[in-house]
């Protein structure tokens, strides 16, 4: 998985490309840990994310919790495969999807 960061003042956009699974979820966790300082609004762009498992969902949920105390988190460009997983797990209701 490749994570690309784009920061505009207090807004951080993370673009995820590839597979977010047991082996790559720690990588996203690491990026979040090191980059969220001073960020009040987070956008996850999942256009190029082709796979997500519960390991990835847990990290996304962690970010959502952290950002909800601030200006929030938006998840955008979710494709069908990933949306299926959001749907069966109820994440579709929890997340702010765009």
């Amino acid at each position: 998985m490749v994570v690309t960061q784009k920061r505009e003042e207090k807004h951080l956009v993370l673009t995820l490309e590839g597979r977010l699974d047991t082996t790559t979820a720690p990588q996203l966790e690491e990026v979040l840990k090191s980059s969220l300082g001073g960020v009040t609004h987070l956008t996850l762009d999942l256009a190029k994310l082709v796979y997500v498992s519960s390991a990835g969902l847990r990290v996304i949920l962690g970010a959502q919790k952290q950002m909800s105390k601030l200006d929030g988190m938006v998840v955008k460009n979710v494709n069908e495969t990933v949306m299926d997983v959001f749907e069966v797990t109820g994440f579709k209701e929890i997340l702010t999807l765009e």
């Binding site: 699974d21 082996t23 796979y51 498992s53 519960s54 390991a55 997983v85």
Partner: protein
């Protein structure tokens, strides 16, 4: 139409074909399957004399292939051949590639050859590419041009040697649907292939080759569902299931996933089916069996596909204490169990001689 009797082929001191016997009627579509290195290509190459048989007899429409007086060129024209590689001339336009044979070898007039080429290009769905050069085409399109080029010689039978093996998986189906269309039009064909769904759906008969002979032959139903002989059974079972053994917590997760993907593509599963197999496997292994299932790691992952029902079954057999990760009433469940339960159509756990056996239907 073709009669093969006691055909043999020896290269140096290796006997590749021992004793091949077959009768092929006009209009038949024969799929040839079998492990690699068993002489499938050699068999086809012997039929159109790209290799000279060592012994035996092949007659085509009553003409003896091995008779020195037989006109080899005339015979080859009756038998088109399509290979893994397309071998188009890159300095010629698509339509010129197709016209080349008829003009030079059949003595057709240019106008006639051109019209025929355009008609054939339409048949393979590439009329709009007539004036393109091969380098501007995808692999699947090149192979379709190669098929049109073969048909331009008006063959009576077409031999295909793994026509889709060199292609990117996304292009396999466009080529197979052209082959399928030819079959529907009544073309006599022999196809060496690894595409089992294709072999099953399109052929009138299947030859399973092994040990230098046609080891077993029959209808697709007989070969794929009720193979009689041991080696055929072994081959069919192997191609219909994917097995991955896990003996350590640090097993190669990537290798397992790409193995599932490759298996799924060969079986023509949809991307969604492949995704779901990977997802359910990952959730059960990483969040259940490898975290809770006791000490020694001893798990067999088996993915099987039943073509008849279109069902995919994931079977995990594992040692350690008896443990069904999908047990429970659904309250207070973690994400991984939730995903498996929602994605699976059905699941069943049992103790099989002291070993856990969890079967999930997707």
């Amino acid at each position: 139409m073709i009669s093969v009797k006691h055909l043999s082929k020896v290269f140096g001191d290796t006997t590749v074909l021992k004793d091949v016997n077959a009768e092929i009627q006009r209009g038949e579509v024969i799929s040839i399957i079998g492990p690699s290195g068993t002489g499938k290509s050699t068999f086809l190459r012997c039929l159109n004399l790209l290799e000279r048989p060592t012994g035996g007899e092949v007659t085509i429409d009553g003409i003896n292939l091995l008779d020195r007086k037989t006109d080899v060129y005339k015979l080859r024209q009756k038998m088109g051949m399509v290979f893994q590689s397309f071998n188009l001339f890159s300095h010629l336009m698509v339509v010129e590639n197709i016209m080349l044979g008829p003009v030079n070898l059949l003595g057709s007039g240019r106008q006639e050859a051109f019209e025929d080429a355009m008609r054939l290009l339409a048949t393979v769905g590439l009329a709009e590419k007539a004036y393109a050069y091969p380098d501007e085409l995808s692999g699947g399109q090149k192979q379709r041009v190669a098929i049109a080029r073969t048909l331009a010689m008006h063959p009576e039978i077409v031999l295909f040697d793994e026509p889709t093996s060199a292609l990117d998986p996304t292009m396999v189906s466009e080529v197979l649907s052209v082959v399928r269309k030819l079959a529907d039009e009544g073309m006599t064909m022999m196809v060496v292939t690894h595409e089992m769904k294709f072999a099953r759906d399109v052929s009138t008969r299947v030859f399973f080759m092994d040990q230098g002979i046609i080891y077993e032959e029959g209808s697709p139903k007989q070969i794929f569902e009720e193979p009689k002989r041991e080696r055929t059974r072994g081959f069919i079972n192997k191609i219909r299931t994917y097995l991955f053994e896990i003996r350590s917590r640090t097993f190669d997760f990537y290798a397992m996933n790409s193995g599932i993907e490759e298996f799924g593509r060969k079986q023509m599963l949809t991307p969604k089916q492949i995704n779901n197999i990977q997802l359910v496997t990952e959730e059960l292994l990483m969040n259940q069996l490898l975290t809770k299932g006791g000490d020694a790691v001893d798990i067999d992952v088996n993915v099987g596909y039943a073509e008849e029902s279109g069902e995919v079954a994931l079977t995990l057999t594992y040692g350690g204490s008896l443990f069904n990760p999908l047990e429970g009433d659904g309250s207070d469940e973690d994400l991984s169990v939730l995903i498996v339960k929602r994605v699976a159509r059905m699941s069943k756990w049992e103790s099989d001689a002291g070993r856990n056996k969890l079967r999930v239907i997707l």
